[in-house]
Symmetry: none
Subunit: 133 residues, 4 copies
Amino acid sequence: MDITLQQAEKAIAASKKKADELDLKMNIAIVDGGANLKAFVRQDGAWLGSIDIAVKKAKTARYFDMNTGEIGKLSQPGGALYNIEHSNDGLISFPGGIPIENKEGYIIGAIGVSGSTVDNDHTVAQAGVEALK
Amino acid sequence: MDITLQQAEKAIAASKKKADELDLKMNIAIVDGGANLKAFVRQDGAWLGSIDIAVKKAKTARYFDMNTGEIGKLSQPGGALYNIEHSNDGLISFPGGIPIENKEGYIIGAIGVSGSTVDNDHTVAQAGVEALK
Amino acid sequence: MDITLQQAEKAIAASKKKADELDLKMNIAIVDGGANLKAFVRQDGAWLGSIDIAVKKAKTARYFDMNTGEIGKLSQPGGALYNIEHSNDGLISFPGGIPIENKEGYIIGAIGVSGSTVDNDHTVAQAGVEALK
Amino acid sequence: MDITLQQAEKAIAASKKKADELDLKMNIAIVDGGANLKAFVRQDGAWLGSIDIAVKKAKTARYFDMNTGEIGKLSQPGGALYNIEHSNDGLISFPGGIPIENKEGYIIGAIGVSGSTVDNDHTVAQAGVEALK
């Protein structure tokens, strides 16, 4: 079961609204259950380097069905998953990527946001996730 | 001068409408003046392999400021640009990518569409371009 | 809806049986609905270069929901999809890749076979597809 | 001397059995003596991001004929092999990859497992190795 475009657009709209409220400029990506890109927007003035990061955050969150920041806790020097980022053509393991579940708790995709601090990225991604609950 | 997200969303909406009218399922990508991804949508059921092709068509159109199909005419065996597709991490040189001009005739980005025949792809891309005129 | 491992193993077993009957040595790959690798085997003595080709054939078949050979007919010099192989990190557009449908006609994955002539590759792939009907 | 497909399938069957006993969902990859993919399975529901990690663990174990976790001890900041993961299109240097020896002690391939904690990954990989002793 994959996220629909309607759901993806609803999540992106909520994330954009949150970004505007916080006066941020974000890249926002949605992937489906197969980790394939479903929708993407870059707000005017958002960092160019965050295009790829937003997409990689969304993919990473779906690849391991967890928030990207959780992976980063384990991939530090000395950690269990040190340098896992070298897999899958490059993971992003800091906050801003979150899996998206449907109402039955089945993971149907993921969202990735990049353009500000990792805390802000996570907050804006979370707004997108909440819109589908 | 770059395409704004509002303009990109307007073009995508017009392309989606045209795709729906023709009963097609499309991947639609917009890049800005720097050939960097600005917005993307994949309609439900659209080919997975067309994600990359739509993005590459949009980039190719902006890389050379011409319709992608024009490049394909020159990249055939014996042609002046034979195998130009090997550059830029892969070009797509068949129809479906079109530069986007603003009202003053300045190129502010490009659109790429993939998911059907190349004629349909071009038609749906053209609808997006027309919406900004 | 994705192909299960049990289904994938059933398809691979049927393809292996067909390959043995024809005295061929094959690489056989199965991808799921998201075009992600599900299962793979390389028969003893099969070409090393066909590992990647089998995987790419399976992905290509799912990317466009058609037999890989169909794409090859359109990607020739002068054809509508000339040089489409440059997309998606490399497509394989000659026969040997076939989408896999479930009994309701929904595409749940694809199979790719490489190791002999393209006719033999297709025949062995088809045996895998038939096993799930 | 390379691992045969029959041996690879025997190792995978043992690893799958161990994963089932531990209620885990794993990606399991086998490479031959040339570090080329021989067989692969993804159990239903296993992480998508672990496809590549399982394959890279198997390759890494054969590239250096040691358990992947041993390399990780040396690749930490300040260590002798710091950032060796940048080589070979990406190594994985945490546990879950183990070389496979035949009864004469000759290395004929390697196994890589990914899908749970690194301890579980190693345990499931070890079950595959034991099956060939």
